[in-house]
């Protein structure tokens, strides 16, 4: 018997969407298992490895790559460089979704996600993590406000959009301040572990290093997001704008390199640079990918002016900076020494992300992509000069 399968064209899902939904579904199932049977049931996290992939990827990296938002907000609203306006909304959207993804990830990683709001009523003023928590929650609100005009325009509620637009400045400033605070605080998180984080990374000025690198990664992310979405949504490339941003990157990276190496030398840790085995390899790989190579690449006008050059440069910077976040939060952190421990259930020094663990992050990331796509499709994210066809 032949079934009449005529589905409304609007309900037809593109294959990519099905894939993304499936990944989200898997993540949801894994998260449910985690809620019932504990974090240890779907990962190898243990007493000697309390933080792992989720923190490094979803929290540290997630926050870092959402730094484009405040950069562009500052650029456009504070420095009134309106030429960059076309890049603004997508960046705000990226940041907004990025922070939502961070919060979702926290809801899975926290032992008591239902108590996440405790940070608002029980505040320990010496805790860096509190500051991050409050800032992330506040900044999410700010981003919502910054993105709200797009939504209001999309649903044709122009009055509200204009209203918000007029009072956007305080929120932009608040957003920059909050971003400065928590981008640097992610580095400050490690200040309390001087004997655990390898000396090539640990420094009292970790927050400053994190902030500078956040600017670098923000710029790279703007370029990356723009390049990818231009290709994905078949829109025009904004190379002329990106090129200007790319010009700033080498300056930021030079400052970063000078600060980083300067600190290492002054602190007397230069001796570790070449003799630390795996740590040295991680360090130099990270520096190469996050600073040296992009520095060189983006110094060339030819590369800055080429769409693919920009994309490749951004990708390299992006991965280099992710490496830095992973190093600081996980790979360069000393976990329990392999001493004799009793009882043997006490420590489980070997940790490696499990498939379920990664699937949660992948699912959350898929949500981000899907949400971005939906927003790009149905809301005036990419400026008012949108093509007539929305398909």
């Amino acid at each position: 018997m032949k079934l009449n399968l005529t589905i409304d064209k609007r309900l037809q899902l593109k294959p990519i969407v099905i894939v993304l939904l499936a990944l989200m579904g898997i993540a949801f199932v894994v998260a449910m298992i985690r809620y019932v049977s504990g974090i240890g049931s779907i990962s190898d996290l243990s007493n000697s490895f309390p933080w792992g992939f989720w923190i490094s990827f979803d929290l540290f990296t997630g926050v870092a790559i959402s730094s484009g938002g405040f950069l562009l907000a500052a650029t456009v609203y504070i420095f009134e460089l309106n030429q960059f306006k076309p890049l603004l909304r997508p960046s705000i959207l990226t940041a907004f979704l990025g922070y939502i993804m961070v919060v979702i990830a926290l809801l899975v990683d926290l032992g008591h996600p239902e108590r996440i709001w405790y940070m608002m009523i029980h505040m320990n003023g010496t805790s860096v993590l509190l500051e991050i928590g409050i800032c992330v929650m506040s900044y999410l609100t700010v981003l919502a406000i910054e993105f709200a005009p797009v939504v209001f325009e999309g649903i044709k509620w122009q009055k509200a959009a204009h209203f918000l637009h007029r009072f956007i400045m305080p929120f932009v400033i608040l957003g920059v301040v909050l971003s400065t605070l928590h981008q640097s605080s992610l580095g400050s998180l490690l200040l309390i572990e001087p004997q655990k984080l390898h000396p090539l990374w640990w420094t009292p000025i970790l927050p400053i290093e994190f902030f500078i690198s956040a600017i670098g990664i923000g710029l790279a992310m703007i370029i990356l997001e723009s390049s990818l979405s231009s290709r994905a949504f078949k829109r025009g490339l904004e190379t002329h704008l990106l090129e200007k941003l790319a010009k700033v990157i080498p300056i930021v990276l030079v400052v970063y390199v000078v600060v980083k190496f300067g600190e290492i030398i002054i602190a007397g840790d230069a001796k570790y640079l070449l003799i630390s085995g795996i740590m040295s390899i991680l360090f130099w790989a990270e520096i190469a990918m996050s600073t040296f190579i992009p520095l060189i690449l983006f110094s060339f006008k030819r590369i800055r002016k080429s769409a693919s050059g920009l994309l490749i440069g951004a990708i390299i910077t992006f991965f280099g900076m992710i490496m830095n976040r992973f190093d600081v939060s996980w790979l360069a952190v000393k976990h329990s020494d392999p001493l004799s421990y009793l009882p043997t259930f006490m420590s489980n020094v070997k940790y490696f992300p499990t498939l379920p663990e990664i699937s949660v992050s992948v699912g959350i990331f898929s949500f981000g992509i899907l949400a971005f796509g939906l927003a790009a499709k149905y809301l005036p994210v990419f400026g008012k000069q949108e093509e007539a066809s929305t398909k």
Partner: protein, 263 residues
């Protein structure tokens, strides 16, 4: 209530025979589930080559630091420190972020990785047996130790006792009482024949390691306000400057008889 001002332990690694009576006693006293422990053995174990061997193990639990890093780092203040020493954990505050596990240089807080939302996943650690010390009994681990490797009492008395032992038996101990100054001082003092790092103890300065992060936190609000002020100033300045430029341009326009061709 007792008259002890600072409840403390002195552990003498040369006396410990690794019998684990302390662990069993703690488990019973505090009703610890079978898959958790608040005291454990750490150390390199047996080192050397037959027949020149040495045993390097010790038992330890929460150090009840004077400047606890768990307390410093916990976002919701689930840790608190009694005036007389014990560092306490409040499971009703805990959000399960596990930052304390990273912050603690001794690897003390243990988390319920096997519990979900229904049972509740919490941190577990030595409480210094308040139900015992507050009625004048020794903590469970100390009370049962057959070799007095673990003794308990007033911190200053135990520091003195430790130094007395070092002096009385030259060559038996490393001339240092671990915990006297480390991380600002801890309530669990340790004497050892072998370097403390071989017992699994981290090398910590006298200045508590949370001082750096606490200092950064202290300047957060002043910094935020200053930064906001700077940004406001810059925004205002840029805006005014642009307005001026616009006005100048407009002026230039009006003075121009011929309308400029665009492009």
């Amino acid at each position: 209530m007792t008259e002890i001002n600072h409840h403390a332990f002195l552990f003498d690694a040369t006396r410990c025979i690794d019998c684990r009576a302390c662990m069993v006693a703690c488990s019973v006293e505090n009703k610890i589930p079978m898959n958790k422990t608040r005291i454990w053995v750490a150390g390199l174990g047996i080192t050397g080559e037959f027949p020149n061997l040495q045993r390097e193990t010790m038992v330890y639990h929460c150090m009840h630091c004077n400047a606890p890093d768990c307390l410093s780092g916990c976002p919701v203040g689930a840790y608190s420190k009694r005036d007389d020493g014990p560092v306490e954990y409040d499971k009703n505050r805990c959000i399960g972020c596990r930052y304390c596990m990273n912050a603690c240089p001794f690897g003390v807080p243990h988390f319920d990785f096997d519990k979900g939302l229904v049972d509740g996943a919490f941190i577990d650690k030595c409480t210094l047996c308040p139900q015992r010390i507050d009625i004048g009994l020794e903590p469970a681990c100390v009370a049962t130790c057959p070799t007095d490797a673990l003794v308990y009492g007033e911190w200053t008395d135990l520091v003195k006792e430790a130094h007395d032992r070092i002096a009385a038996h030259p060559g038996r101990y490393i001339d240092h009482v671990y915990g006297e100054t480390e991380n600002g001082g801890t309530s669990y003092l340790i004497l050892s024949h072998v370097p403390f790092s071989e017992l699994g103890l981290p090398n910590l300065p006298e200045n508590p390691i949370n001082k750096v992060s606490e200092s950064v936190m202290e300047i957060t609000i002043p910094f935020a306000l200053s930064w906001a002020a700077v940004l406001t100033g810059v925004a205002a300045g840029v805006h005014m400057n642009n307005k001026k430029k616009e006005a100048n341009a407009k002026e230039a326009e009006t003075y121009d008889e011929k309308p400029e061709e665009t492009k």
